[in-house]
Symmetry: none
Subunit: 197 residues, 4 copies
C-alpha cells in the first residue's frame, strides 16, 4: 500500500519538485496541472501520485527543498543593537522577495493551499514558518533583554504585529507593498497608536 521509500528514485523526486516550482511561476497556480509537472519533469504521472497526495503538497515540498538547500543551520536575523533599523532591514528584504516575480506566483500558490488545507498548514507552520518565526522571536527577545521592548510583551503577538500587516497587504492586495510601507509599519508597531506622554 504505502510505497517503500528506500526504493525511491531521488532524481525523479528532485525533477518533480523543480518542475512544479518552475511551472507555477510560468503558468500560475490555476493552470498548474499534475500532467504538466510530470511532463516537464520527464516522469510518469503515477510517480507523482505514488509519493504525493495532492498538488499542494508537491508545491509545499518544492519550497521545503529550496529552504533546505541553505546551510541547514538555524536562521538568524541581524542584530546591530538598533532594533528599529534591523527590523526595517529585514522587512524591506521580505517586501522585495514578495515583489519578486520569481517568487510571487509560487508563494501565492502556497499561501492559497494553506488557506484551504489545514493539514498542509500545520506542516507549513512546523517546517517553514516556525524556524523563521523563532529567529524573529529571538531578535525581539534580544531587544527585550536590552530594555528596548516592554518586559511582559508576548513575542508572538509582537511578531504578528510587525509582519501581519505586510503579509496581509501582499496577499489581499489592499495597497502597494513598498519599502516605505514596511518602515511605517515598524515605526507604528514599536511606538503604538496612542500618543507617547
Amino acid at each position: 500500500m504505502t510505497p517503500n521509500p528506500t526504493r525511491r528514485r531521488e532524481a525523479s523526486r528532485r525533477a518533480v519538485l523543480t518542475a512544479a516550482f518552475d511551472l507555477v511561476q510560468e503558468v500560475g497556480y490555476a493552470k498548474l496541472t499534475i500532467e504538466g509537472i510530470a511532463a516537464r519533469a520527464g516522469v510518469g504521472k503515477q510517480t507523482i501520485y505514488r509519493w504525493w497526495p495532492s498538488k499542494g503538497v508537491v508545491l509545499f515540498d518544492a519550497f521545503l527543498m529550496l529552504s533546505e538547500s541553505g546551510d541547514g543551520g538555524p536562521v538568524v536575523l541581524p542584530d546591530t543593537g538598533d532594533l528599529r533599523a534591523d527590523l526595517i532591514l529585514v522587512l524591506r528584504a521580505t517586501v522585495e522577495e514578495l515583489n519578486d516575480p520569481r517568487y510571487d506566483q509560487p508563494m501565492r500558490a502556497l499561501a492559497t493551499e494553506i488557506t484551504h488545507d489545514a493539514e498542509l498548514a500545520a506542516a507549513y507552520r512546523e517546517h517553514l514558518d516556525e524556524p523563521m518565526r523563532e529567529a524573529k522571536r529571538e531578535r525581539l527577545r534580544s531587544a527585550q533583554r536590552a530594555g528596548q521592548l516592554a518586559p511582559g510583551l508576548d513575542l508572538d503577538i509582537a511578531v504578528d504585529l510587525i509582519w501581519g500587516p505586510v503579509l496581509n497587504r501582499w496577499l489581499q492586495r489592499t495597497g502597494p507593498l513598498t519599502a516605505d510601507y514596511a518602515e511605517r509599519v515598524v515605526t507604528a508597531a514599536l511606538d503604538g497608536l496612542r500618543p507617547r506622554s
Copy 2:
C-alpha cells in the same frame, strides 16, 4: 456581442449568486464548479457565461449581493468614547464571523480569488473593503480628535496594524483565532512594543 442588460432576468441572477454562495460553503472552493452552480440554480450554463467572466467574479457578486441586502447606509463602528473597548468589541465580532462555518469557506474562497486576480482585488477594495475601512478610519479619526491617538498618525497604517494580524492569522492559520488573541493585538497595537516611559 455584449448582451443587453435590460433583458436580463433578475430571478436567474439571484439564483446563481445564492447557489454559488451556498455551494462553496458545502463543497469547498476547490470543488465549486460552474456546472454545479448552474444545476443548483436551475439555470443554463450559458446564462452564467453570458453575465460573468469567471467563477471568482460570480462569488464576488454573491458577496456584493449579501452586503447590499443591508440598509444601504454607510457602515458605522460603535463609538462609546472608550477606543480600546470599542475596538475589542468589533474585532471580537470579526473573529466570530471568521470562525463561523457558514462564512469561513466562502470568505476563504473570495480571499483566494483576490490573491490571484488583481482586477478582482481592485473591485473588492472599491466595493467591499473600502466602505468598511472608511468606517474603521472614522472611528480612529474620532479617537484622534479626542487625543487618544497620536496626532500625526497615518490612519491606514493604524487600521492595518489592528486588523492585519487577525486576518493573517485566519488566512494563514498561524495559530488559533480567538477573542483573546484579538484583545492582545488591540492592546499591543495601541501601546506599542517599546516600553512606555
Copy 3:
C-alpha cells in the same frame, strides 16, 4: 441520463464509425483505442462514450453502416439453376473477401467481439447475419423445389454445413483458405461423405 438522440450530431457519428473501421484495419484490433478513434475522427472522447457502450459496439455499428450503405433491398444470391456452380461462385467471393487485407482485420475484430459478448452476438445475428443467411436459405429452398436437395432437409443445417468449414478455417487458421478449398467443401457437402449407390 440517457442522452437525447434528436440532438445527436450525425457528422460525428459517421466520423467515429469510419475512423474505427479504418483504424482497426491499420493497427489491428489489439491496438485499437477509443482515444485513437476519437482523435482520428476529430471528436471528443466523451462523444464516443455518450453514444456507445464499448469499443466492440462501435466496430459493430461501423459494419452496420457499411452494410446499410447498400441499396437497402434484401440480399439475393445468384440462381442459374446450377446449384453447385452458384454455391462455388458465392463461396469463392466470400473467400476472396476474407483474404482481402482491407476486410481481414476488421472482420476478425468483429468476430472476436462476438465470441466474447453474447449481447453483441445477438445484434450481429439480427442485423448482419440473418439477412445474409436468409438469402442463403432462399437459394437452397429454390434448389430444394427443383428437386436438387433432399426434401426433408433442415436448411439451417445445410447453410452451416457449407459455410461453417470455410469460416472456421479462416478464423482458426487451420489451413490455407483457397478457392479450391471452397469448391471441395461444396462438393463434399452436396454429395455427403458416404459413398453414393
Copy 4:
C-alpha cells in the same frame, strides 16, 4: 540475453500457467492481465516476461500443460464399427465441453488469440490441433477401409465438414449448441445435401 532454461524454476512455471487458466475463467479474457497472473501465481512480473513473449502464449502453454497431463499416448477415437454412432458420441462430448463454463472462457480466449496471431496459430495446430485431427482422420480412414466412406474422399475436408459447423456455431454464437444440433450435422455430412436416389 536468452535465459538459461536449466535454471528455470518449475514451480513458478506451473503456478503461472495454473493462475492464467484459472483467472481467464474467472474474469474473462478482456480483463486478464500479466499483473493479475503474476499476483495470483505469487510470482514477479519479470518471471513471466522472461519466459513468455505474450499473454496469448502463456494461455497457450496453460492448455498445453493440461493436455500433457494426460497419458501422453496418441489420442484414439472410439471405433465400434458404427461410424455415425461413434461420431455422434464424440461430437456430443465436444459440445458438452464447449458448453462447460470451466472451459468456455479459456477456450474462447485461446481461439481469439489464434484468430489474431498467426504464429501462435501455427503452434496450436502443431501441438494441440494436429494430434486430435489425426485421431479424427484415423477414425474416418478406418470407416473408409470398411467401405462406409467414399473411396477418394479427402479426409481433411471430411473432418472440417463434421467439426467446422459445430465450432463455428460455438464461436460465432449463431445458435444454441446442443447435442441434437451435433447429431443433425453428422447426419447431413454423411448423407450429403443432395437427395440419395
